[in-house]
């Protein structure tokens, strides 16, 4: 009996241990190996208070619990400390409005706020166009090299190229520099406080800053040849400088950090009955680094491989696309990027769009892993707001890059924080990365964009302030000057620009959060015509075919849903040279995505026609809708096969919009909608379908809609059959303008 009791007690103890460990299991982000460099916006603790330590920060893991934060805008080594981080930030904890905060209450040092290197006039003043934000004219971050776990910063100061690396030995941190030739002395700001001791190479002249008691200045004389020097920091006197690094070796590529190749088996559909088959590339979720793979951008490197960027900063390459997918090989080639949600490969070079910059990933030693994180362009302004995501990365035929950037929406979804020049815009960057220009403003949360075959620019949008609902923005090829897409807070410099109305408004049930757009390329047998625009719904996890209707020099039109099943949201898409469509999506904000992330290939089944309309026309009395097959004339002639409604929205400062009658405008309600949220005002006009006629081609239905007139949404549902009795049911949501 005693033995039984003893066993029961032991078992109880065991289960309690199990339970305790389950209850105290670390969240995934604490277990993820981010790598030696981590780009993010970081807070730290200064005098007991939290502050934004670096908006475009790079947190360096020096090993042994030592960390240092480098600000890639001010080039300042903001702080060095022993400790971890307090987790926060939307991609990590999911929380809005808080940050990853360094646990640096007792740092080795904290540098004074501001630029680290003096400008040619010897000043440390914040001379930026918007103090506190953006790049300095005299100090620019060029990227960094990785050699094993060692990070080497690369930047320019007053035209002088500088490499810098950090080394921690016990309590001593050594900063090692290599400067190019310089015609003038360079001056570096360093911290000064009672318990901090510095040592420096003889070339470095240390002196107290007479203007700032918290700062001392390190001066490096002019030199006609490159020179190297070091500065060590410790809380004990006479810190010893580390051995001088070999910068040439450090910047030539080093040992891989993530040598394991993960193999997965893809799931290839054999469904022969449906127009589209969805194959799933199984993600390497089980990986040694416990990396959370929520991919938000991708591009093909070649026909057999693709590069994918994850919201938590990884870039992976998957190989084996051309095979039978029984052995997909995944390699983690980079980590620690700042929420990269766009990838573009140009001539084999991988460009990744993060919040801080577009980075070119360079493999210097052919081991597949990135050794050089080369800055391509970092002119995009960033604030600390959680919502100002940077979306997508596309190029046009001329090689210009494009991406969209959200406005800094507050955590309740209503209103905005301080607007900076990049907020709510579409940006275009020259092929060499040197010039950034804004091609559209007035966006709120454009989750993706598209560049058409002729240079057309499209974006999605989400409902919110000045955005009555989701929509597809469209600029025709050759559009002159930036366009304004509606959000007044992010109007930027376009003070008098008219509102560029969208190609189509999309009510909530159609799309509640938009992704990218993509155009079916020539030669792709995708079941819809070449040159067709597809719109991705992030929120509804589906793909819409866009049916354009000419409107002067621009377009209006509608959307119909393609019968494609997806395992996660629809965020990014690219056509493979074999004509299949690869689709990528994750779940980071509101969506009905069924899984956290999925990378899929959608193939058209030529044996099953796509049962959606292929063309739309507006007539004076209604619409013409062309189907891809011959229709059963009896059902076309039955008016009950169709229903139609129309309604408008109110674009105003309130969040979203209700639905407002077009036929019987309620001006008082529309005025009120400018003062208060109107989503409860849901008045649609039922439209009498007065006639339905099958045209001579046997595929086009001409509908006479009572009182045909402009409306922000015209909804037409159809319930038809083709001449082989296959059912064709669906909905068209279109926008009709008066011109």
């Amino acid at each position: 009996m005693e033995y039984v009791t003893y066993v029961l007690m032991r078992l109880r103890h065991f289960y309690l241990l199990l339970l305790t460990s389950a209850l105290h299991a670390k969240p995934w982000y604490e277990e993820m190996n981010i790598g030696p460099a981590w780009a993010n916006t970081f807070q730290d603790r200064q005098g007991g208070e939290k502050r934004i330590a670096a908006i475009k920060g790079l947190l360096i893991d020096l090993g042994g619990g030592h960390r240092a934060l480098f600000d890639t805008e001010t080039l300042s080594l903001v702080t060095a400390y022993d400790g971890a981080v307090e987790w926060g930030g939307t991609p990590w904890t999911g929380k809005h409005g808080n940050y990853v905060c360094l646990e640096n209450a007792s740092p080795l040092f904290t540098n004074p706020v501001g630029v680290a290197w003096a400008d040619p006039a010897g000043s440390f003043a914040d001379t930026r166009a918007i103090p506190g934000y953006g790049n300095y004219a005299h100090a620019s971050f060029e990227g960094y090299f990785r050699h094993g776990a060692t990070i080497i910063f690369n930047y320019q100061v007053n035209g002088v190229e500088i490499l810098e690396t950090l080394h921690q030995d016990g309590g001593t941190l050594t900063r090692s520099f290599q400067c190019g030739a310089s015609k003038k002395a360079l001056t570096l700001s360093l911290p000064r406080r009672e318990s901090l001791y510095l040592s420096a190479s003889p070339k470095v002249r240390l002196a107290a800053d007479p203007e700032d008691a918290t700062r001392q200045l390190a001066t490096i004389s002019a030199s006609s040849s490159p020179q190297s020097f070091q500065i060590a920091f410790s809380q004990t006197p006479d810190p010893k400088l580390a051995a001088a690094p070999d910068f040439k070796a450090l910047t030539a590529g080093g040992p891989a950090l993530f040598p394991e190749i993960i193999e997965t088996k893809g799931s290839v559909s054999s469904d022969a009955s449906k127009p589209y088959r969805t194959d799933v590339l199984t993600l390497p979720k089980e990986n040694p680094w416990k990396s959370n793979l929520r991919f938000g951008g991708f591009d093909f490197i070649d026909e057999d491989s693709a590069a994918l960027s994850s919201w938590n900063g990884d870039v992976w390459v998957v190989r084996g696309l051309k095979g039978d997918w029984s052995q997909l090989k995944w390699q983690r080639i980079a980590s620690g990027l700042f929420e990269p949600l766009g990838v573009k490969v140009v001539k084999g070079a991988i460009y990744v769009n993060g919040r801080d910059q577009i980075t070119q990933l360079v493999d210097l030693n052919a081991d597949g892993e990135t050794d050089h994180f080369k800055t391509f362009n970092r002119d995009c302004y960033v604030s600390a707001n959680f919502h100002e995501f940077t979306f997508d990365l596309q190029t046009d035929a001329a090689g210009n890059f494009y991406f969209s950037k959200a406005a800094p929406v507050r955590s309740g979804g209503r209103g905005f924080d301080r607007i900076l020049p990049s907020h709510g815009t579409v940006m275009k960057i020259s092929p060499d990365g040197k010039k950034l220009e804004v091609v559209a403003t007035g966006l709120r949360a454009p989750g993706g964009l598209g560049i058409g075959p002729n240079g057309e620019i499209t974006t999605g949008e989400n409902e919110g302030s000045n955005q009555p609902c989701c929509k597809i923005n469209y600029l025709p090829a050759g559009h002159q000057g930036p366009a304004f897409f509606g959000t007044e807070a992010s109007r930027q410099s376009l003070k008098d620009a008219p509102y560029t109305e969208p190609l189509c408004y999309l009510p909530m049930a159609v799309d509640n959060s938009s992704g990218s757009q993509i155009w079916v390329p020539k030669g792709a047998n995708f079941g819809v015509a070449e040159g067709t625009m597809l719109h991705l719904s992030y929120g509804q996890s589906c793909i819409y075919q866009v049916l354009p209707v000419p409107r002067g020099k621009t377009l209006q039109g509608g959307v119909v849903k393609l019968p494609i099943s997806l395992q996660s949201s629809a965020m990014r898409a690219r056509f493979h040279p074999d004509g299949s469509l690869y689709l990528l999506g994750f779940r980071g904000w509101q969506t009905n995505a069924a899984t956290e992330c999925a990378f899929q290939r959608v193939r058209h089944n030529p044996a099953a026609p796509v049962p959606t309309p292929v063309a739309l026309e507006y007539t004076a009395t209604g619409i013409r809708l062309k189907f891809p097959v011959k229709l059963d004339p009896e059902l076309v002639g039955d008016l009950s096969s169709f229903q139609a409604q129309r309604w408008n929205y109110v674009r105003g400062p309130q969040y979203g919009s209700g639905e407002f009658s077009v036929d019987h405008p309620d001006l008082a309600a529309e005025k009120l909608a400018l003062e208060k949220e109107s989503k409860n005002h849901l008045v649609r006009d039922d439209i009498t379908v007065e006639a339905a006629k099958l045209l001579a081609d046997g595929q086009t239905v001409e509908l006479a809609l009572a009182g045909m007139k402009p409306s922000m949404t015209l909804k037409v549902t159809y319930d038809l059959e083709d001449d082989a009795a296959h059912v064709l049911k669906g909905e068209l949501h279109a926008t009709v303008y008066g011109n």
């Binding site: 309740g412 509640n512 969506t591």
Partner: protein, 683 residues
């Protein structure tokens, strides 16, 4: 200043106009209903019903005008489908059902629970709908009518799917019900008592009492009491307090003063607690006034009684003695158990600042009667209170058996349009002047012809519908596609909070609609919500809060359930399938649908609620009925248009194809099992 006669006439005109508006609104609403014809032997009754559903205990009447016995009801009207649908109809409950659509019999005398209909194709538009239900010979009667299609699972047909125009019979029946409701709300049975009790199924309103006047002297000023007694309908146009004196005469003024003097002498010893003038406190109180949506039922405190539909607050400062208002706001039903003012569970600081706002803002805006009141004599007031029979309505006040009014039985023998309280002024004699419009009088007279039996045989669902109107539930809640009154009215108080712009930056502040309430929440949840005893708020992010209607909670909650054909009985214990629950857990978590992104579970906050937040998930299985859970999960937009809750299935196929064969219903069922495993909040 206008005379009493002029002001009364003006009010009557306004009320008449408003009453007409209400009636036309009711008529409009009625068009989205069905016509119900009840037959019980040779007796018939008619009603416009939101949907064909009922739930009656064995001793409950199908309508107040029929006995608690066997009956047949036939609902007729149109069923409207928005697109071509292939529908299967079925019913749940006890009884016998026949159903026809477009004249085609789909269910023929089906004994419930019975089979479903064959699939029938309906083209978009209206279709003739007729459903007959016969109560079983014994036991409870219950019915819910369901449909299903390839695009949605089996669920009750929502109210919005029905249409019917009022008929002469339904209009007459509505008038009879209005008269019956007025008879109760005007406290007629207090004077005209029944010689025998009305029984357990009597109209609950008949048991309601007027305010308790003990302690009036601690709460109310003598000046306000004088004016109130003299002209209650002027100070508060929707009061049920009858006018008992004639203020156009010196005697009437003297009576007012005497009664006021008597009432201020009724003290229980609560000391006044004067608060110094504090503009900051009043400013903070203004925000609370706006946040709680007080304008849904009240005019602004600096406005008089121009809007007869809402209770004016302009006499607050002149009515309440210092400190008394705070006590009232904290517990409005202390002296008036059946007050329509609910309990908002105000904290001390909230009540204090709200009282400061109301007092400061209403100062100088009190209703002036342009009358000079003589000094009052409390002894004369006491005698007058007895002779006026104040005690029949106000518990504890004096009343005189010698001057008791005619009995209930007696008045139903009379012609109300020719004599008594309901008759026109010139035929009323010494009867008290009730606050009745001509339409009210017509309704009461019509009701009187039905006899008194209906007072003793109430129908719980009809009680709830009466209270939805009386307690102004739709001031805050949308219902059947109609926006809440507050949706429009709330901007009237917006300026009070305009200095706090961050209030506009919060998560979505929408309040739930009442359309599916009886199907949505368990009876116990509705009851505890109304009673104010819920341990935890389901929507803690709302600036507004659901107040308690404490003394209405039980019958109101039961009626809500019965309106949708559900019993109030607790559901049998749910047996969790651990395997399904495990699947449900996966679906709820971040590797599934990610419900926890927007929904909290206990202390675990939503991971990324943005723009909107969902209800506490750990409360779901105790709050929700499974039928509603399935409807909501299948298509949230069909329940709440514009909701941000994503739809995870299409045509009953889940977005998630690799779990339970992608069957949406099975996946939602798995989630339901998982939710039952969650500990109740607070445990």
């Amino acid at each position: 200043m206008c005379s009493r006669e002029n002001s009364t006439r003006l009010f009557m005109e306004i009320k008449s106009i408003y009453g007409g508006l209400v009636m036309s609104l009711l008529t409009l609403t009625a068009q989205a209903e069905l016509t119900a014809k009840f037959i019980q032997g040779t007796a018939t009754d008619f009603r416009m019903d939101r949907l064909p559903a009922l739930q009656l205990a064995e001793n409950e009447s199908p309508t107040p005008f029929l006995k608690p016995a066997g009956f047949q009801v036939t609902w007729t009207g149109k069923i409207v489908v928005p697109r071509r649908q292939r529908l299967i109809f079925s019913c749940e409950g006890q009884g016998t059902v026949s159903l026809s659509v477009d004249g085609k019999e789909l269910l023929s005398a089906v004994e419930l629970p019975g089979k479903s209909s064959e699939s029938t194709r309906l083209n978009p538009g209206e279709h003739e709908f007729s459903l007959s239900y016969t109560r079983p010979a014994t036991g409870a009667a219950s019915l819910r009518v369901l449909w299903e299609e390839a695009t949605f699972p089996r669920q009750t047909i929502p109210p919005a799917a029905f249409q019917s125009a009022p008929t002469a019979e339904t209009t007459l029946a509505a008038l009879q019900r209005r008269g019956r409701s007025l008879f109760a709300s005007q406290n007629c049975v207090k004077c005209h008592a029944a010689s025998t009790g009305l029984g357990a199924n009597a109209m609950p309103e008949l048991a309601q009492v007027a305010p308790i006047l003990f302690g009036t002297g601690d709460r109310s000023s003598e000046d306000w009491l004088r004016r109130w007694i003299a002209e209650p309908h002027t100070l508060k146009p929707i009061t049920q307090m009858p006018a008992l004196v004639d203020p156009s005469t010196p005697q009437g003024l003297q009576d007012s003063s005497d009664l006021a003097a008597y009432l201020v002498g009724l003290k229980v010893g609560v000391p006044p607690s004067p608060k110094p003038h504090d503009p900051a406190l009043a400013k903070a109180g203004g925000v609370i006034f706006h946040e709680l949506g007080c304008v849904g039922c009240h005019a602004l405190p600096d406005q008089d009684a121009k809007d007869p539909s809402r209770v004016p607050l302009n006499n607050i400062a002149s009515k309440y003695l210092p400190g008394a208002l705070v006590g009232y706001l904290k517990r409005p039903d202390t002296y008036h158990p059946f007050t329509k003012m609910p309990d908002f569970h105000l904290s001390d600081p909230e009540a204090t600042s709200l009282a400061a706002y109301l007092t400061e803002t209403s100062k100088g805006h009190e209703t002036q009667l342009a009358r000079t009141f003589p000094a009052g004599d409390s002894a004369r007031g006491a005698k007058l209170a007895e002779s006026l029979q104040c005690g029949v309505c106000h518990p504890g006040m004096p009343q005189s058996p010698a001057t008791a009014a005619a009995s209930l039985e007696a008045i139903f023998q009379k012609d109300w349009s020719a004599q008594g309280c309901v008759a026109p002024p010139d035929q009323r004699g010494k009867s008290p002047q009730l606050n009745l419009s001509p339409e009210d009088r017509h309704a009461l007279a019509t009701f009187s012809k039905m006899g008194r039996t209906s007072l003793a045989q109430d129908n719980p669902a009809e009680f709830t519908l009466r209270q939805v109107d009386a307690l102004r539930c739709t001031a805050c809640h949308a219902m059947d596609g109609q926006n809440s009154l507050l949706d429009d009215l709330h901007r009237q108080s917006a300026l009070l909070a305009a200095y706090l712009p961050k209030l506009n930056d919060r998560l979505d502040q929408s309040r739930p609609a009442l359309t599916f309430l009886g199907e949505m929440l368990t009876t116990a949840t509705i009851e505890s919500t109304l009673a104010g005893t819920l341990p935890q708020r389901a929507r803690p992010w709302l600036g507004m809060r659901m107040p308690a209607f404490r003394n209405y909670a039980t019958p109101l909650a039961h009626g809500f359930s019965k309106l949708h054909g559900f019993s109030s009985d607790p559901a049998p214990a749910f047996v969790v399938d651990p395997a399904l629950a495990e699947i449900g857990k996966t679906l709820v978590g971040s590797t599934g649908f990610g419900c926890t992104t927007c929904h909290a579970i206990g202390d675990q906050k939503p991971t990324a609620a943005f723009e909107v937040q969902g209800i506490q998930l750990d409360l779901a299985h105790t709050r929700l009925r499974p039928d509603y859970f399935r409807r909501w999960m299948d298509n949230p937009e069909s329940v709440t248009p514009g909701t941000k809750m994503p739809r995870y299935s299409q045509d009953q196929k889940s977005q998630r194809l690799d779990v339970l064969n992608g069957d949406a219903a099975q996946q939602f069922d798995a989630i339901w099992h998982y939710l039952h495993q969650l500990p109740k909040s607070g445990e």
